[in-house]
Each structure stands twice: as structure tokens, then as C-alpha cells.
Amino acid sequence: MLQIENLTKTFDPGTVNEKKVIDRLNLQISAGDFITVIGGNGAGKSTMLNLICGVYPADGGKIILAGNEIQDMPEHKRAKDFGRVFQDPLMGTAANMQLAENLALAFRRGKRRGLSWGISEEERELYRKRLATLGLGLEDRLNDKIGLLSGGQRQAVTLLMATLNAPKLLLLDEHTAALDPNTAEIVLNLTDQIIREQKLTALMVTHNMQAAIDHGNRLIMMDKGNIIYDVRGPEKQKLKVEDLLRLFQELSGGSGFSDSMLG
């Protein structure tokens, strides 16, 4: 479904800050995969996601989505295939616009926008139904500005927005990291539920090792711009947090292990 070949990215090339962040990375994602991504700070997880959706261009390598090379397309042209939720709850929504307006913007992701009214009555009904599935009481707040919602509520809405019209690939970058443990749990379960119900393909970066084991059918571990461990199916289900820590020590050559891996 998505194929990454020899992807490479260096930040600030030719300066003292030069940093090779993604180094000839290869990854094959099959339709229906729900992959959790772990790795220490600076391993290149966010950069990989940003390269996939084109926030900045790759220096080399290919990204092939459903047979088409997309690595040279600008971000806004790729957007129709990707749903994204960021770590920062402020980043996924427009604070000064209503809840319904935000959903309407997302509903038109990747479509041509014209001079018809930005939101229709039927849509409102649809949004009310979808919001109700979140179980956060947001279905009664369609006309509230998003800025009035809490971080967890905003993140749940962003998740809904990202999956409103089934994306080919859902990219989640530590989307529960800024939330309190309780809310994080709720949003994480919602994520799982939405991915299963809509049979989405997803990449979820997390620092929560237990969550990385509990969710999804496949787990990859990144270090220094590459994938150092890739496991799926029953073998993944059997993993324990201690196993992951030990594997990380071994595979990364014992270097650079940080407490941040524990989240």
C-alpha cells in the first residue's frame, strides 16, 4: 500500500548543524496494517511521518503510495490520502472557528473548494452523530469555538477530523502525549476503535511502550534514522515492556538509550 525506499533526509546540510536524520530508510506498509512506532528522542520518528505527508521534501529515496511516486508532490496535493493528528492539540484545529466548521473543513480534505456554502444542514447531522460516538458530550457543542475545548477534547476532535473521510493512511504522532493519563487512555481507545471500525491503515508514534504493544498488529523500533526492529502478529502480542527495553539496548548498540523511551 505504502512503500518507502532508501528515504534520506539531512537537516541544515553544509552547515555546522548538519544532521542526517533519516538514513536510507526502507519500510513496506500493507493495507490494514496498524503499526506502532517507538524509539528514543531524535530517532527520526516525526521526521519520517513529515516526509511521508510532505511537510518538507526528502533528499533522496522514494515514497510510493498505491503505485504512485509521491515524494515530489507538495504537501497540499498529498493531503487527500493522509489523515494526521499531531502531538500538540493546538495544531490540528482552527481555534477561532466553530466545532462544526472545523469538521466541515476536514470533511473537504483534498477536495476542490468552491463557492457553495461552507457547511450544510445534512453535514451538521452527520457531525452530531460522529461526535456522539466519541462519548464526550461534544455533539451538543457544534457551534462552540474549538478554542473553548480542553486539550483532550480537541485531540479527540482532531482524530475525528483526520478520519472523517477514510484516509489511505492515518498518521498519529504522539497524539496522546500532551494529555493527562486518563484522557490519553480515552483518546487511545477511541483511536483503536476508529481504526478497527473503518479498517484503516495507520502509523502511530508513541513513547508509551505498553500502548505500543497493546495496540496494532505490528511494531517498529527506530534509532538514528532507521528501523532497527520490526515485529508483527502473535510474536508482537507476546512482547513485554522489558523485552522491548532489552531489544533496544542490544540493537542500538547500547548507545543513546534514554529514559524518554519509557514515556
Partner: protein, 311 residues
């Protein structure tokens, strides 16, 4: 009595200039873009209208040509920012400065009187006189101001409710999100700059006809006057949040600004000091809400301290 007449004049000016303030509101507030094109595009509006009228083009058509010219000015700022990657403030300043030369070219001189020519103000005044309604030129200007402000607000309200308009509003909130939703933020900024500067040139056209002259220096400080209207409107109507009411607040702010100006002129202030006064008003209007919220926060802390002490 004399002051009442001055107030009528102030309302007329406030309404006409509010079209500029609405344009500035779009860039400054909705798009979150500090557009410095304003002084130039306002003057362009007046100059284009003047030269059209002098060359026998009907005033209402002249007004439409001005609208177009303003749109081009906005497009140039958009081009400089989007394609040449010049920072937004500088892009606007560059357009503004070049428009000074261009406006001189358009007008062919520094100043063009319109007193002996027909304008939409004189046309309406004559029309009303024919049906037996003799109105002062200020009252005619109020009518025309109301008509144009209503048209502009209705059109903007419609446009910013459409799919394209919504994504422009979102651009002002969160550019990363807009790109993630598949829209080119360069395009959304471009469209907003064109619309905003069209409004501003329309205001220049109206004000030029109302004053009976176009002058290449008439736009100096227009941007601050627009800002003054926006912030006065925001301070006075603090609680409104809907887009339509916010635009009405801008218009009210513009009228109040003109009434303040009329008042201080009556009190003997020289017109030369007006720009200084305007800057002070803007500074105060921007400072006051902050001061109030700081004061309230302090009060809340004191209250909390007292409650802990008493407990």
C-alpha cells in the same frame, strides 16, 4: 449646533472610511497578516477614480475600476510574499512605496480636483433634490456610506461563509492544518489580500469623491486609521464573536474614531496633530484590554490570598 453638524460629518466620514477598516480587518484579524499595502492601495483607489471621472467615465464605473486596481495592489503584495518569499510586512511596504510612484503616474500630478465634475455623491444629491428632498452633502454621504457598508458586509459575510472563505479563515488560525487538509496556503493568502485591498481601494474611491479631490499623499497613515477603527470597535463591543457582528463593530469603531477626532478638533487641536492623536488612540486601545485583564488577575490573586489567610 455647530458640534451636531460636525458629528454628522464625522458619521459620514466614519462610514466611508469604515470600508477601509473592513478591508484591514480581513488581513489583520481574519488572516493574521500584517498588510502594509493599505496606504498605497487606498490612494490608488482615489487616484484611479479621479482620473476616470476627469476622462468622462461615469463615477459608478470609476468606482469599479478602482476596486480592480486595489485588487491588483493586493495581488502584488501576495506575489512578493508567496513567490519571492519576502516577509509579509516588508512585502506590503514595498508595494506601498512603489504605489506612491505609480499613483503619481496614474494621476499625472500630485493632486486632482473633482469639484467641477459629477461624483456619485453629487448625482444622488441631485436625484434626491429632483424628488423634492434637499439634503446636505454630509447627509447624502451618510446614505451612500450606509449603502456601501451594507453591500460590503453582506458580500464579505457570504464569501467567508463559503468553502473557499472558510479555508481562508482557517489559514489565519492555523496554516499547518490548512495544508494538512489539502489547501495551498499561498493561494488562500493571495485571495484574501486581493479582497482586502479591493475594499481599501473602494474606500479610497469613495473618500476621494466625497472630498472632491484625489491627492497622492491622502493615504498617509490610513493603515493606522483602519487599525484604530478595528481596536476601538473591539474594545467597545468586546463580547461579540460572530463574524457579521464583528464587522459591524469595526464600522461602529470607525464612526466613533471620527467623532473623537471631531471632538478634539472642536476643542482646538490642530489637524496637524491628528496622526499623533490617532497613534495614541491605537496604543491606548491595544493597551487597555491587557491592563484590564492584568488588573482582574491581580484582584483574583488578592482574593485567593485573602481566602487562604481566612481559612
Amino acid at each position: 449646533m455647530q458640534f451636531l453638524l460636525a458629528v454628522e460629518g464625522a458619521i459620514a466620514q466614519g462610514l466611508l472610511w469604515s470600508v477601509l477598516a473592513l478591508g484591514s480587518y480581513l488581513t489583520f484579524r481574519l488572516l493574521n497578516f500584517t498588510d502594509m499595502t493599505v496606504d498605497g492601495s487606498f490612494t490608488t483607489g482615489a487616484c484611479v477614480t479621479a482620473i476616470c471621472i476627469v476622462n468622462g467615465i461615469p463615477p459608478i464605473l470609476a468606482l469599479l475600476v478602482s476596486l480592480l486596481a486595489g485588487g491588483i495592489a493586493g495581488a502584488i503584495t501576495g506575489f512578493l510574499h508567496n513567490k519571492l518569499e519576502i516577509p509579509e510586512v516588508l512585502a506590503g511596504i514595498l508595494t506601498q512605496i512603489s504605489l506612491y510612484s505609480i499613483n503619481l503616474r496614474i494621476l499625472g500630478r500630485a493632486n486632482q480636483q473633482l469639484l467641477q465634475y459629477d461624483t456619485i455623491f453629487k448625482q444622488l444629491q441631485n436625484l434626491l433634490a429632483e424628488i423634492g428632498l434637499k439634503l446636505s452633502s454630509d447627509r447624502v454621504a451618510i446614505i451612500i456610506g450606509l449603502i456601501f457598508v451594507t453591500i460590503v458586509i453582506v458580500v464579505l459575510y457570504w464569501f467567508f461563509g463559503t468553502e473557499i472563505g472558510s479555508i481562508i479563515r482557517a489559514t489565519g488560525n492555523n496554516e499547518a492544518m490548512v495544508r494538512a487538509l489539502g489547501q495551498n496556503t499561498e493561494n488562500t493568502k493571495f485571495i484574501a489580500l486581493i479582497i482586502a485591498n479591493s475594499c481599501i481601494a473602494l474606500a479610497g474611491s469613495l473618500v476621494g469623491m466625497y472630498q472632491g479631490a484625489a491627492d497622492v499623499g491622502m493615504g498617509a497613515g490610513a493603515i493606522v486609521i483602519g487599525l484604530a477603527s478595528i481596536v476601538i470597535g473591539e474594545v467597545i463591543l468586546r463580547r461579540v464573536i460572530a463574524f457579521g457582528s464583528k464587522m459591524v463593530a469595526v464600522v461602529i469603531g470607525s464612526i466613533i474614531y471620527r467623532i473623537i477626532v471631531a471632538l478634539v478638533l472642536q476643542l482646538g487641536l490642530s489637524t496637524n496633530d491628528l496622526k499623533l492623536l490617532t497613534a495614541i488612540i491605537v496604543a491606548l486601545a491595544l493597551f487597555l484590554p491587557n491592563a484590564v485583564s492584568k488588573h482582574n488577575a491581580k484582584k483574583a490573586r488578592e482574593l485567593a490570598a485573602r481566602e487562604t489567610r481566612d481559612a
